[in-house]
């Protein structure tokens, strides 16, 4: 029985979960969340917990399947694809169809609504995992954040899950099935030169030399060649500046820090322009449908996006650290300057979002945003960034894939929470001084962040670089 290929494939899911204590706890927590979500749906018709738990589990399963398919075994070992596809299909069928349908049945509702939402969530996960990962995840999270604060969307989900919007549910189900079909087709075409790293590999762990990521693949295409030509003069200037900083490091503290900003080539003002364009387009379309206030979107942008982008930059930093450690700078100096360089980068991201979003808010918000609220949002988001930076840098010192995942959850959870708090305190008709709660909360978080930065520095001093 145990020697069957199907059993062995099924065991890979369990082995992945039990390989470390934290991972096992996470798996149990997810399982409990699924069970609680299904029960809550059945008794109180509350679909949110079930959907969130399903969404997280879909990410885990698709990530796992993608890893299994993006290797040579998938091409050469007889029966490999059939066994993996069967087990994945059974797991997904249970989570995306059977579980929501059973929960809806227990609640005495038509299952189509909940199943449609679950299938479309699965389609979204597949799309994000198999398409242009970074951009997809960013757009998906921005869309999610933009709509999370909208009562209309929340109500629509609840009404759909409750069977009040069956025609719309049928359309959503069809869209979800189409996305899943496209995703499955792309999954089958994966080979060992996978087009995208897994989420964990985006942060450096396990990415082998010579593996191409999406940006590298794109750069080899026709469009990529054009982008590269366009980028080349900028890249040359940026590299010349980086080398200049390295030469001046002995005489200038600023240069000594800037020389370690080696995490990628992005022009600050182009970033501002891009953010402005995305923000403007989103707020235009969403405000036309009356779904949100532009200030809400800007606040979430300011709280979440700089932290998310900065955390993503760890990928390049971590893999290159052993190389940098042997460049002529002693360990303590390197670590201080490297942490300062990353902090500076985080600040640059935040400043880019401020520059790009606040003018939009000032121009478009109706009624106009009081200056006291604006100041609270700016200061609160700046303090939250200190907290997030500190906590994430400390977690990353442990260099474990599980902790990388926790970093993402912490970044999304803490900044999202702080952003919600800021929105509810400042923008819901409260008096202007209500914002002090936001400042106290984010101030406390920033103190924790500063402590975490120091703890991270002390830990790096004795940590291995391999």
């Amino acid at each position: 029985m145990l020697s069957s290929a199907y059993t062995q494939v099924a065991l890979t899911y369990l082995r992945r979960c039990r390989s470390s204590g934290i991972r096992m706890l996470l798996a149990i927590a997810w399982g409990a969340m699924l069970a609680v979500g299904a029960t809550a749906m059945a008794f109180s018709r509350e679909p949110l917990v079930l959907l969130i738990a399903s969404f997280i589990t879909f990410i885990g399963i698709v990530d796992h399947v993608k890893e299994q398919f993006a290797r040579w075994d998938a091409q050469l070992v007889p029966g490999y694809r059939r066994a993996h596809l069967t087990i994945a299909a059974v797991a997904i069928l249970f989570l995306a169809v059977l579980l929501p349908a059973m929960a809806a049945r227990l609640a005495g509702l038509q299952p189509i609504g909940l199943v449609a939402i679950a299938v479309s969530l699965l389609g979204a996960v597949l799309w994000c995992e198999l398409q242009f990962t970074g951009l997809s995840w960013m757009l998906c999270s921005v869309f999610f954040v933009a709509n999370a604060s909208s009562r209309s969307i929340g109500q629509t989900i609840t009404e759909m899950a409750s069977g009040q919007l069956d025609p719309q549910a049928a359309i959503l189900f069809a869209i979800g099935i189409a996305m899943v079909s496209v995703g499955a087709f792309k999954l089958l075409r994966l080979d060992e030169k996978m087009p995208q790293p897994r989420l964990s590999e985006m942060f450096g762990a396990g990415r082998s030399a010579g593996t191409q990521n999406a940006a590298e693949q794109m750069a080899e295409g026709r469009f990529g060649c054009w982008v590269n030509q366009w980028k080349c003069p900028y890249l040359d200037r940026r590299m010349a500046a980086l080398a200049d900083h390295a030469r001046r490091a002995d005489t200038s503290t600023w240069s000594a820090i800037r020389r370690w900003q080696t995490q990628g080539a992005a022009s600050w003002w182009k970033l501002c322009l891009l953010i402005f364009a995305i923000f403007f387009a989103m707020q235009f379309f969403l405000s036309r449908s009356g779904l949100h206030n532009p200030t809400t979107l800007a606040t979430f942008y300011l709280f979440i996006m700089p932290a998310a982008m900065s955390t993503g930059m760890w990928r390049l930093r971590i893999t290159a650290m052993p190389f940098e450690m042997l460049l002529p700078a002693d360990r303590a100096t390197y670590l201080r300057q490297m942490i300062a360089a990353l902090g500076l980068l985080h600040f640059q991201f935040w400043a880019a979002f401020v520059t790009a979003t606040i003018p939009c808010v000032l121009l478009a918000a109706q009624p106009p945003l009081p200056l006291a609220d604006l100041a609270t949002i700016l200061l609160g988001s700046a303090l939250a960034q200190v907290g997030v930076f500190g906590v994430s840098i400390w977690l990353v010192t442990h260099r474990s894939q599980v902790l990388f995942t926790i970093v993402i959850i912490v970044v999304a959870g803490v900044t999202g929470g702080a952003g919600s708090f800021a929105v509810s305190s400042c923008l819901s008709g409260h008096p202007w001084h209500a914002g002090y709660k936001v400042l106290i909360a984010t101030g406390l978080f920033s103190i924790i962040g500063i402590g975490s930065i120091y703890a991270a520095y002390r830990r790096w001093l004795v940590a291995d670089f391999d």
Binding site: G210, E216, A240, T262, A320, D330, R331, D464
Partner: protein, 237 residues
């Protein structure tokens, strides 16, 4: 009496419960070229990383160029070149960008040597690091390690991914760099013919310890066989 270029005393390192180095001692004198031999998983990479201060041994002392490895000064690091077994660099940089960036850190960077090596080894200077093949990446790493003409070179299986032409050129470069006793080189390899061609000393690693260390000629004299057969005999093969 001058201190050895590399001095390892009682180095112990385990990963979890698995011991890799068990009280290892090794002393590499200045100006020598030492070939490090050992079966897969014998701890060659761990030894080198402990010597470089990249990983911290649980016990023992590691010194490099007269300084503790863990707290190497910037001046000492400027005298060291290292080629890792798995090369991780900045994938978005072009090769020439990486060379220029690294050169800026070293006051005595030899532009002519780097230009010559990149030309002779057909390294594509305008290609980005990310899509380079493993062999090309290894060539870049070797050039980066040689560019500042270090006093001490530590090479972890540097020729493993090189084609025969590149391997021959690389060995010739090592021979000319190390001649006559100007630089210290410690390199690990599984290709014993390479080692016999370049090294004057050999260290054999087994069960987390150096079981034999001395002049290559002495080893041959003692065993009356070539290096590969001596190595196999020591492992009872």
């Amino acid at each position: 009496m001058t201190e050895p270029a590399i001095e390892l005393r009682g180095i112990t390192k385990s990963y979890g419960k698995k011991p890799v180095l068990a009280g290892l001692d090794l002393s590499v004198p200045h100006g020598s070229v030492v070939g490090l031999l050992g079966v897969n998983g014998s701890g060659k990479t761990t030894l080198m990383k402990c010597a470089l201060g990249l990983i911290r041994p649980q016990a023992g002392q590691a010194r490099l160029l007269g300084e503790p490895s863990w707290t190497l000064s910037a001046a000492a690091k400027a005298r060291i070149g290292y080629v890792p077994q798995v090369v991780n660099l900045y994938p978005w940089m072009k090769v020439r960008h990486l060379l220029e960036y690294t050169a800026a850190f070293y006051p005595n960077w030899n532009d002519d040597l780097v230009a010559r090596l990149t030309k002779e080894w057909d390294i594509p200077r305008d290609d980005r690091i990310g899509p380079l093949s493993v062999g090309q990446l290894q060539k870049v790493a070797i050039v980066l390690a040689l560019g500042h003409e270090p006093d001490l070179l530590i090479l972890d299986e540097p020729a493993a991914s090189l084609d025969p032409v590149a391997r021959r050129q690389f060995l010739q470069e090592i021979i000319s760099l190390a001649e006559p006793g100007r630089r210290t080189v410690l390199f690990s390899t599984h290709i014993t013919s390479d080692l016999e061609r370049v090294a004057d000393r050999v260290a054999i690693l087994k069960s987390g310890r150096v079981t034999w260390h001395g002049l290559l000629d002495d080893l041959k004299e003692q065993t009356h066989v070539n290096l590969e057969e001596s190595f196999l005999e020591m492992h009872n093969v």
